[in-house]
């Protein structure tokens, strides 16, 4: 990341994405975008708005509802030297195309002994909180993080959204780029401050394998990603009023996980809470707890706290959905339990 002062502009997450795509597509003719409603519509969650008009239907291609077909086609096109960017509209739909993603896109480089490169970016919208129920509200971070051969990122803030998307596009490996609906700053969803931020006007990259300490603190480390980072920051403000200084880490990269940043923080705070908008079992809370319990064990002064969706599908009705997705309140409760231990 540059240290010189750059010209920036306030952008929403969505606009940051679009800017990344536009700048990269201008730079490199071999990039094209495929997906359902990425054309005139501009992406259901605003990932490609305006690009169809700028680049035309050859480079911003609407597809049929054939995820295995078009995401599988990205393999062939990438092997031929293109850099396809494919959109899976909701991550919840991955089950119709997971074979192409994890058995082919993820493994061909390896199975070919490095002979075949597949510079594919799969963009997909994640997250709940607006009553879209069990088949349209998941994050599934770990479903992708578990499988070898994929870099999986989930940036939170517009600055990282742009920078990590550009990194993903330039990477010669397949990258799963997860963007959170609520963080897109779309006019028709909840408006939250975090979805707007300063974004350098020019192209830049943010590494795909680095977590980010977004708030310094000495009493407890809270690791979150996307909306859980946002909630953790909110919680930290409240906790500060109670005299507890939480260090908040925005994970950003689901795979690989930036162990160093987490371990370093825990070495300082001696307490850890991991918060996840994905399911509890075998999720981010599991992996990070395990990393710390095996590699930072001596630094821990208390049990590790885990806060995630309690292994239930996301319910439709607002009261229940709010209950299952962690928020600043449940984070505070968890921290207080850990700290008073």
């Amino acid at each position: 990341m540059k240290t010189i002062k750059e010209k920036t502009k306030k952008l929403t997450g969505s606009k940051a994405m679009i800017q990344a795509l536009e700048q990269e597509m201008n730079r490199d003719d071999s990039i094209f975008v495929m997906g359902e409603d990425v054309g005139k519509y501009g992406g259901i969650f605003g990932s490609t708005t305006g690009l169809f008009d700028k680049f035309g239907g050859e480079r911003v291609m609407d597809t049929p509802i054939s995820e295995t077909g078009f995401i599988g086609a990205a393999v062939g096109a990438a092997a031929e030297g293109f850099r396809p960017i494919v959109e899976l509209m909701f991550v919840d739909f991955h089950g119709v195309v997971m074979d192409q993603i994890y058995n082919h896109i993820a493994k061909i480089h390896y199975m070919s002994g490095g002979a075949v490169k597949l510079p594919i970016v799969l963009m997909t919208a994640v997250g709940g909180g607006y009553s879209d129920a069990a088949q349209h509200s998941q994050t599934l971070y770990a479903s992708f993080g578990h499988l070898p051969g994929l870099k999986v990122v989930a940036p939170t803030f517009p600055h990282d959204i742009k920078g990590m998307l550009i990194s993903a596009i330039r990477d010669d490996n397949p990258v799963i780029f997860m963007f959170h609906k609520t963080l897109q700053g779309l006019g028709w969803m909840d408006q939250i401050d975090a979805s707007l931020g300063d974004v350098p006007v020019n192209a830049y990259t943010v590494p795909l394998n680095k977590a980010n300490v977004v708030r310094k603190g000495k009493d407890i480390t809270i690791v979150g990603v996307q909306m859980m980072t946002v909630e953790a920051l909110k919680a930290a403000e409240e906790l500060a009023k109670k005299g507890i200084e939480a260090e908040v880490i925005d994970l950003r990269s689901i795979k690989p996980i930036d162990k160093e940043t987490i371990l370093k923080s825990v070495a300082k705070t001696h307490h850890l809470l991991v918060v996840d908008e994905d399911y509890l079992s075998y999720g981010i809370t599991a992996e990070i707890s395990a990393i710390v319990a095996s590699e930072g064990f001596g630094d821990l002064n208390a049990p590790i706290g885990r806060l995630a969706i309690q292994d239930v599908p996301i319910p439709y009705s607002r009261v229940m959905e709010k209950f299952v997705i962690p928020d600043s309140k449940s984070i505070i409760d968890s921290v207080l339990k850990l700290i008073t231990v």
């Binding site: 409603d37 879209d132 439709y316």
Partner: protein
């Protein structure tokens, strides 16, 4: 219209009208709490809302041939089928309101309506309901019952792998299975011609050695006839069918859809040929029902629907902790 009984015509009208009124009301209710600024997650009915206004013939003119024992699977746009299949309207509305009294105790929502009493289900993943109906048809065959299973899908779903695998299975096993393709020309913003390599999905029946039918112009009468034949054939063990009906989508893909991808004139033109009005006119002309009859029927319909909404509105929300129940039985 000669070959349709008065009873059937009245039934079809009633179901179409019920669906229409239900949805027109939903259109309004959905906006509560979402004005002046539209926020999809706000109001008494949050989340996505896919309405079927204009597409009623597909549902009513097929389901008139079905009984409680026949299975229907539907899509993210399920209300017209749910209503025609006789799903409990109160519980359905309560579900859409996220209430405890809903079909799914508020866990499912508008895209996930399950009423096993009338063998109705739907879901939010395009194409996924097709194999479910195949499985029901398989069960019917195994039991030696002449019950049928009908999967309703959009024309966009005919390009999913699930479609192909399901149709091949149904044909291979000669199951009492029908897929009704509601061709409303659009899969969200993607026009059929930009998604489907053939002009009519009826032709795809050839790929499975089964029968394919195409119904023009959203015609409830033609749909009735074609469905009758397909259902009878299925009941007699003569195998599956594909029925495509060219239908109309009056509203956006979901409520809040800016619809920048389609011509402003498209919908007004379609509305001129509204299938409910058309049927009503025909029925009046053929003396199947009088203006008075319609007035009476409509009043009944409004009352029934209004009551369902009342029930929903007056029902309790679930407790937050209820979210943890019903994962397993």
């Amino acid at each position: 219209m000669e070959n349709i009984s008065k009873k059937d015509l009245l039934w079809i009208y009633r179901k179409m009208k019920t669906s229409r009124y239900f949805e027109e009301k939903m259109e309004k209710v959905y906006l509560e709490g979402k004005q002046p600024v539209f926020n999809i997650g706000a109001g008494p009915v949050p989340g996505e809302m896919h309405l079927s206004n204009g597409q009623e013939p597909a549902a009513a003119s097929m389901i008139v041939h079905l009984t409680k024992n026949d299975t229907v699977t539907a899509t993210h746009r399920p209300h017209h089928e749910a209503i025609a299949k006789g799903v409990d309207l109160k519980k359905m509305t309560a579900e859409i309101y996220g209430k405890k009294t809903g079909l799914g105790k508020g866990k499912g929502g508008h895209m996930h309506l399950f009423d096993p009493d009338v063998k109705f289900s739907c879901g939010g993943i395009v194409g996924a309901g097709i194999p479910h109906a195949v499985g029901a048809a398989l069960a019917n065959k195994k039991r030696g019952e002449n019950w049928v299973a009908v999967a309703f899908i959009g024309e966009g779903a005919a390009n999913t792998g699930a479609f192909h695998e399901s149709l091949n299975l149904a044909a291979l096993w000669n199951l009492p299975f029908i897929v009704v393709i509601e061709d409303n020309k659009w899969g969200i913003s993607v026009a059929k011609k930009n998604a489907t390599s053939v002009t009519s999905n009826a032709i795809r029946a050839k790929a499975y050695g089964i029968k394919g039918y195409s119904v023009k112009d959203n015609d409830p009468i033609e749909m009735f006839k074609v469905s009758k034949e397909a259902v009878e054939r299925a009941r007699k063990g003569e195998g599956p069918s594909i029925i495509e009906i060219k239908t109309y989508r009056y509203l956006g893909h979901f409520q809040g859809d800016p619809e920048l991808y389609r011509n402003k004139e498209e919908v007004p033109k379609l509305k001129e040929k509204d299938p409910i009005e058309r049927l009503k006119k025909e029925m009046l002309k053929e003396n199947v029902a009088t203006v008075e009859d319609f007035k009476k029927m409509d009043a009944e319909i409004y009352k029934e629907v209004d009551k369902a909404y009342e029930f929903a509105v007056n029902s309790e929300y679930p407790e937050p902790e209820d979210a943890l129940e019903d994962v397993f039985c």
